[in-house]
Amino acid sequence: MHHTWTLARRELRAYFDGPAAYVVLSVFLAITGWFFANPLFLQNEASLRSMFNIASFVFLFFVPALTMSSFAEERRAGTLELLLTFPVRDWQVILGKLLSVSLLLLVAIGLTLFYVITLSILGDLDFGATLGGYLGLFLLGLTYGAIGICASSLTRNQIVAFILGFGIIFAFFLFDKIVDFVGPDLGAILQFLSTDYHFENLMRGVIDSRDVVFYLSLSGFAFLVTNYNLARRPE
């Protein structure tokens, strides 16, 4: 665990030493801020719903952008060989990467608490829905992060890693939107596999373990595939 934390700290420093973290955080705040202020001032509605929705939408692009370098760049630069000859297990390395992305996303999500405070002063806030929304947003970020890292472990080209990661994440986002076009059986499966469907559930304020388990399972699966990719020791 100690090594995982050392790795995560290095990754976080790399985000914050360059412009990446600041660009991501400020653009994320600008977009969510707009979607928070809009209903509040124009429709006089004290709800975080549209803010959560846009945040989950922004994650579709931002998370694979944050993870695209995670293994692809290490492979290109050859540093993967250094990492994987330290006295650590491969999974500790992967966990370190996932931890760093999760923490950065947690910072991004945390900054939006400003809106929650504002709303709770101005109007009547549904705390259950807010809590569910935040939990959903975090789990969404974690899952997208695990998928993005997995995509990055498949290539040494960052652009390929981004497109691949985004493609997979977008597919999981779209699943519940094509339910009407397929039969009811396949539709039910697709709906269950949709990341957006479970997010909608959590946003309603009912925290169902099935939704939580779904995100954790998908993240775990992406984690295992990443571990398999690394075990093959790609050049």
Binding site: T6, A77, T79, L82, P87, R233
Partner: protein, 322 residues
């Protein structure tokens, strides 16, 4: 210096820094990068892997460091198997991969601190270790600089410092001098020689003077197999060198040529002239004593008797051209 590089003794009291490779094969698909090789490295030895690019040097090193898993055969480091005890083995090995990968966006000090942490060095000891490495590798001027801005020679030193920070008994260095200018090469070689006094070092190169300069022993690897194993000097003598003797005498040497031929000595080249006759002779044995005696017996005025030093380049070419 001695203190910094000194390897700690094993708990069992056995000497640390032994590598035993037995029947190692590593395949990539149908292709065998390393094909059933066997060798031992003793504690404190400096062994050079010599071979053309793609011969299997890097692959062998990657197996020893625990990066790759052998397809067949075993690799033991201080008696531990790379498959079973990979983490314990990794702790005993310092590794500088080919082309010295480093986190270029990091500052040298932070990078070494990160490696020290990953190597399990306690937080309060890291500063002291970095200081020692700074001293050993001459990093004083670059500790506060981004690795990206360093010269190739300095990056190589950072790579070596990184490999030694946990004071491992074994160092694996993949092409440690490639891409350096002549002055930097001399500096890095000097450093490796210093390290080699205390540690087991396995280095690879495709530059011949390198092994002559740094290694106690050479393994010539070609197409995944070991084709020669010995000290640089022994290899020179056993192969092309040691068999050719330059022999010159005063005056017309036609008669001498006939005598030499009578004694079954092979004349490779002859240059017979009025004032001096020159021969290049070859034999499987050392014939210098005999040649001297012949000159005495026949009253030849000997002007040259010189056994040609074999050249590792010839050995290498002889072994790897096929």
């Amino acid at each position: 210096m001695e203190d910094i590089l000194h390897s700690e003794a094993d708990h069992n009291g056995t000497s640390v820094g032994t590598i035993n490779v037995r029947g190692l094969t590593k395949s990539y698909g149908p292709e065998r990068a390393v094909d059933n090789i066997t060798f031992d490295v003793r504690p404190g030895e400096v062994v050079g892997f010599l071979g053309p690019n793609g011969a299997g040097k890097t692959t062998t090193m990657k197996v020893i460091t625990g990066y790759l898993i052998p397809t067949e055969g075993t690799v033991l480091v201080d008696g531990m198997d790379v498959r079973a005890d990979t983490l314990a083995i990794r702790r005993r090995i310092g590794y500088l991969p080919e082309s010295t990968p480093l986190y270029r966006e990091m500052v040298t000090y932070d990078y070494l601190e990160f490696v020290a942490a990953m190597r399990g060095i306690a937080k309060e000891r890291r500063g002291a270790r970095i200081k020692e490495m700074t001293h050993a590798c001459g990093l004083h001027d670059v500790l506060g600089k981004k690795i990206d801005t360093l010269s190739k020679g300095y990056r190589q030193r950072v790579g070596l410092a990184q490999a030694m920070i946990h004071n491992p008994p074994i160092l694996i260095l993949d092409e440690p001098t490639s891409g350096l200018d002549p002055n930097q090469i001399v500096e890095i070689r000097e450093l490796i020689r210093k390290i080699g006094r205390e540690k087991t070092v396995v280095l690879s190169t495709h530059i011949l003077p390198e092994v002559q300069a740094s290694c106690d022993r050479v393994l010539i690897i070609h197409k995944g197999k070991i084709v020669a194993d010995g000290t640089p000097r022994l290899l020179q003598e056993n192969f092309v060198g040691g068999r050719r003797v330059r022999y010159s005498i005063r005056g017309d040497g036609s008669e001498a040529a006939a005598v030499l031929a009578d004694y079954g000595i092979n004349i490779l080249e002859r240059d017979i002239a009025e004032d001096e006759s020159r021969f290049v002779l070859s034999s499987r044995r050392d014939i210098r004593d005999q040649l001297f005696q012949l000159a005495v017996d026949h009253n030849w005025a000997l002007t040259q008797l010189h056994r040609e030093e074999g050249n590792l380049e010839d050995v290498f070419r002889q072994l790897t051209s096929a």
